[in-house]
Amino acid sequence: MAQRFDLVVLGGGPGGYVAAIRAAQLGMKTALVEREHLGGICLNWGCIPTKALLRSAELYEQMRRARDFGVVVEGVRADLAAMVARSRRVAARLARGVGHLMKKNGITVVTGHGRLAGAGAVRVTLADGGETVLEAGHVILATGARARALPGLEADGRLVWTYRHALVAEAVPESLLVVGSGAIGMEFASFFADLGSRVTVVEVLERVLPAEDEEVSDFVRRAFERRGIRIHTATTVRTLTRGEDGVEAVLEGPEGERRERFARAILAVGIVGNVEDIGLETVSVRVEKGHIVTDPFGRTDTEGVWAIGDVAGPPWLAHKASHEGIACVEAIAGREPHPPDPRRIPACTYCRPQVASVGLGEAAARAAGHEVRVGRFPLSANGKALALGDTEGFVKTVFDARTGELLGAHMVGPEVTEMIQGFAVAQRLESTEVELMETVFPHPTVSEAMHEAVLDAFDRVIHF
């Protein structure tokens, strides 16, 4: 028997469940279809559990240099199983929280695999058997994405991992090959290196964290190399051969081809949208490069069918999915929302040192035709960073020389991921350098480096 709703959301990740809550707030009768876990990859297998693991690694690393701070700790040892268990507990707790939110907002959660059955209907194969049809004037596809597999480099979960296997590793591999130096690759490289693995990162492009500003890439590469992580850029993995208890990789880079053995390998070469087996063939929706094509509000080519988040294309970020979900629902409700401006979506990488940025890098700004003013400030000149014993990092700002618009901000260092929103707010409010200069940053904080980087762009830096 068909149930009737105003809106059905397919997928319970940070795009889908946030869209469902917003819809409920706007008075829509809403259903959410999720086949596995509320909270999606982000909450269960992505953002949150990795942060829990990285926190363990950070603590371990600090314990090992506790003596520098006058703290005597003996017998420090990493217990990977306990770390993984903790990260699973954190994820489970949050997922339960999402369930409560659904209940609180009166959203009907249907557990099962949903597929479009033409515009206006979703057929769900229920997890506990049977089938149901949900009808609605509007359906939002928020089915997310999964790790991209390269032909010949498929993960097997034992020797060759994706992020998902890496999250529940049973032992720290003696050596590890990380293929891909985006956020996911760099975070796992950092984590396993802290736990004692000999890590090698291979990146096909010219630099690590290729989406970041060039100086950030250079800085992080040097920081990783100081920790003993080996980095090969402009290098591809030609073959990956599984052995008894390890893999043999053939790497081809600027210095030619070579063969190397690793205990384990992690594939982190991007993701592709989950566009298969969701009933797209029953409607007319365009799929390009593995993602559904939409307008800024999530409209597809079929009226009443919308798509948001990872399945609708990069950047693959939870906060981007949530914002798209809200803008999409408001558009459905006939409001006139402001869709998220792709240039103003912050990106964070939680490796050691942390990386956070928003807006354009220097080269990208120049390429876009801006005449720029660039400011930099090293954390080695920041009092709070010195007190923390963590001065590895810097802040860089990129302004339009003509209008004073903050085009981009780039940070490396302790908790910069917690600070980037300051620049994001400034950008959203369309601040110029004047407002940023006139803003009082508290002392002593690492955030003062943000202020100084603004001042530096206009040759007014104080402490450097």
Partner: protein
């Protein structure tokens, strides 16, 4: 759905417009960007373009009639809608006009209280408005809400924020709004009835050779971006020199009587009310125009526009350029009024606070460099005006009069003239009238 087309605000000062011509007729299809009508504003005749596609269903304001900005002038139908939709939308407009805002709000609230068949209209009490709001993001106190970036961009583009529609939260003016306004401002409001091309040489400007824009080789320099004002000066004066055939007439005027009169008048006035020599020149030029009105004119291709009022643009130097505030009906104003107006203009011009309508629309210009000791100079015309009077310094000079050399205070003025409008004899006649007034200054008080 059928929509009403309203009289657009085609210039900052426009309050109503006249339909010069309906380019589209009832029943015609219109595409976005197509000209629907030609509308006369206070400044020019401007083409009114369609924003949406549809069919022109009903013309509400006939050719030659006027409507206030915002009043409906036509009904646009969607493809496939029939004429009954015209009545529906007109009835809706009448109801909305009749109902008080409160009544409308109540009606809306009552509607949504019913079954939730249409989630799209369900209002949420906690919500902040996020859609575009009223034209100017102006709060009750008169404050305009605009982002810092929008403010700066508008200032640099010389745009008044009050004329820009904000689409940000609560109607805040954002960068995108200013960028849109800049684009619109750049699009010239083309006169609707294009004048037959005066001459091919005028119609087809050749490319300016690139080397004209290169720095001198082997020099060190810094680059200074052009302000909007400099851009305008550069463009307009290049066009004036290039397209307008100038010639120049120079005459000396004896000022002793005028200066004596000025001393006497200023002796009775407070410091702040004193009348400058330039104020006398403005008034004298205005009276001379009244006697020789043909110089107060513009060239129109196949016609000449002769202005009915004597409005004089006065060049005022400001940081980074100059502006020309207009003393309107200067022939009807007393010296004290002109002096007061010019003091106010000059102060506000230097502060960048003149309103666009204050520096547009004059028919004749005066440029005075006498205070810098310049004896005489020839000014570039300020098109479409046909004349500009360049005023030099008042200085004692030996003058031969009645076979004797005497010392008199003299001032040299040069009239630059558009020969297409003003011939030599006409220009000379104007200068003779001007000199006669200056040399017999009691006429200025009549």
């Amino acid at each position: 759905m059928a929509t009403l087309l309203s009289m657009p605000a085609l210039s900052p000062t426009m309050s109503e417009g006249t339909i010069a011509r309906w380019v589209k007729r009832e029943g015609d299809r219109v595409e976005p960007g197509e000209v629907i009508a030609e509308i006369e504003t206070d400044k020019a005749t401007v083409e009114f373009e369609a924003v949406d596609e549809g069919v022109l269903g009903r013309i509400l304001v006939p050719e030659g009639a006027s409507a206030k900005v915002g009043e409906p002038i036509a009904v646009l139908l969607e493809e496939g809608e029939d004429a009954s939709a015209v009545e529906t939308v007109l009835a809706g407009a009448r109801t909305a006009a009749a109902a008080t805002p409160e009544a409308v709000a109540e009606a809306a609230a009552g509607d949504s209280g019913g079954a939730s068949a249409a989630p799209a209209t369900a209002p949420a009490a906690d919500d902040t408005p996020s859609g575009p709001a009223a034209p100017a993001a102006r709060a009750e106190g008169g404050r305009i809400f605009a982002t810092p970036l929008a403010r700066r961009m508008a200032r640099e583009a010389g745009l008044d924020l009050a004329t820009i529609r904000g689409t940000g939260p609560h109607g805040r003016i954002t960068r995108a709004d200013v960028e849109r306004a800049i684009t619109e401002a750049r699009r010239p409001a083309a006169p609707a009835a294009p004048a037959p091309a005066p001459a091919p040489a005028v119609a087809a400007p050749a490319e300016v050779p690139d080397w004209l824009f290169q720095p001198i080789p082997g020099t060190e320099y810094e680059e200074v971006p052009l302000s909007n004002m400099r851009r305008t000066i550069a463009r307009r004066l290049s066009e004036a020199k290039r397209f307008v055939p100038h010639f120049y007439l120079t005459v000396d005027c004896t000022l002793d009587r005028l200066l004596a009169l000025r001393r006497e008048l200023n002796g009775r006035l407070e410091e702040a009310e004193r009348i400058s020599l330039n104020d006398f020149v403005i008034k004298a030029a205005a009276l001379a125009i009244r006697r020789v009105p043909d110089v107060n004119a513009s060239f129109g291709g196949d016609r000449i526009y002769r202005y009915r009022t004597v409005d004089i643009s006065v060049a005022v130097a400001v940081p980074g350029g100059l502006v020309t505030p207009v003393v309107r009906r200067a022939d009807e104003k007393g010296l004290a009024t002109i002096a007061r107006e010019m003091k106010d203009y000059a102060a506000r011009a230097r502060a960048g606070r003149l309103r666009p309508e204050e520096y547009t629309g004059g028919g004749f210009s005066i440029s005075n460099l006498g205070m810098y000791g310049i004896r005489e100079f020839a000014a570039v015309l300020n098109p479409p005006q046909a004349c500009i009077l360049a005023v030099g310094a008042a200085e004692q000079r030996p003058v031969v009069r009645d076979d004797e050399i005497r010392i008199e205070t003299r001032m040299t003025v040069t009239l630059s003239v558009d020969h297409r409008v003003v011939d030599g004899a006409l220009g000379a006649e104007f200068l003779r009238a001007f000199r006669a007034i200056v040399e017999d200054p009691l006429q200025l008080l009549l």
